[in-house]
Symmetry: C2
């Protein structure tokens, strides 16, 4: 069998870049062909479902990455403090170091009736729940954890908007550091039994 020119992982990464740069509706097959160096034949061989399947693959890849690097630490047995540090490290690595975008967020804003709506909701819901659970394990009340988790997600997603709007990661990185410190402080306070409120 003829070897594929691109490993599937690389191919999906290229696709991710195209959708990132042009948006789903804005990414034409010609763009995709240029970005991947592949003709339609190869693309439709790899993704018989066409553009929609390509985007689905990118989303699935993103979901996997998050499952491994973000959700697993939060949901797993790691101590809450370490889990949250791991989450922020992963987020920083993903969005700053690797220069990715949150395609979930972009698709969420872009179109009302995207075929990916369910995936988007599931992604954020899982992230939120994992973070809440982790904070609760760290001794935070559920109500307080709920607020903190929503705030954290919003800061990250909004940070990415500003990241792109300002064409620089400084503001985004500052937001990450700030929220990381806030969560650390809350957990530390709970740990030492103090009833201090930070929200």
């Amino acid at each position: 069998m003829a070897r594929a020119r691109l490993e599937r992982g690389d191919l999906v990464r290229r696709l991710s870049e195209v959708f990132h740069a042009r948006g789903y509706a804005g990414a034409s097959l010609a763009d995709i062909g240029t970005a991947t160096g592949l003709g339609k034949g190869s693309l439709y061989h790899a993704f018989p479902g066409g553009k929609e399947e390509m985007a689905a693959a990118v989303l699935a890849d993103l979901a996997d990455r998050f499952a491994d690097q973000v959700f697993a630490p939060l949901e797993g047995g790691l101590p809450p403090l370490a889990a949250i540090e791991a989450m922020f490290d992963a987020v920083h690595r993903h969005f700053v170091t690797d220069g990715h975008i949150c395609l979930f967020g972009a698709l969420s804003l872009t179109s009302d009736r995207t075929p990916f709506r369910a995936r988007i909701t599931a992604h954020f819901r899982r992230w939120h729940q994992a973070l809440v659970a982790c904070l609760v394990r760290g001794g935070v009340t559920r109500a307080h954890a709920d607020g903190l988790a929503g705030e954290t997600l919003a800061l990250i997603e909004g940070g990415i908007v500003l990241y792109r709007a300002f064409a620089g990661s400084a503001a985004f990185e500052a937001l990450l550091a700030r929220q990381r410190a806030r969560l650390m402080a809350v957990l530390a306070a709970r740990d030492s039994g103090t009833a201090q409120r930070t929200g």
Copy 2:
């Protein structure tokens, strides 16, 4: 002269809804025609520049609204506390009551080289600066104000992402209330001379 079927304001609002629902690239002239009830003739009469001019008009309208309802209170002579309340009221009204989206944020995420890049940057930069200036007038140090302003913008933009992802405004409204309270607390603390840190 024949009277236009739609006031320009209404027309722009309809356009806003279409771009909101489909994204810029995803909104076809057919969609726009359906949403406005106008044929191409009328549309191109009102916007000779086509789709791009339509989107520019929507953005200009949005910018005007923000200038009036958000920037003016912050930049004007209003007491900082009242100005910030006004800002949150306007944001709530705009995004929740009126059900609008932040087209700036959506466009920011969607495509790298959009012709609206400069407008997007300008919008967020002005908002950020106005908020910083207002907080500084309220006695907050510039560095602290800078952090708080970035955080506030990110929470609002990220809140909109979650708003749409969860298909409900509850989380967004909670975020608004939370951040409003936080800024109020900071200003109140400064006002009473306390050195309390909240970030």
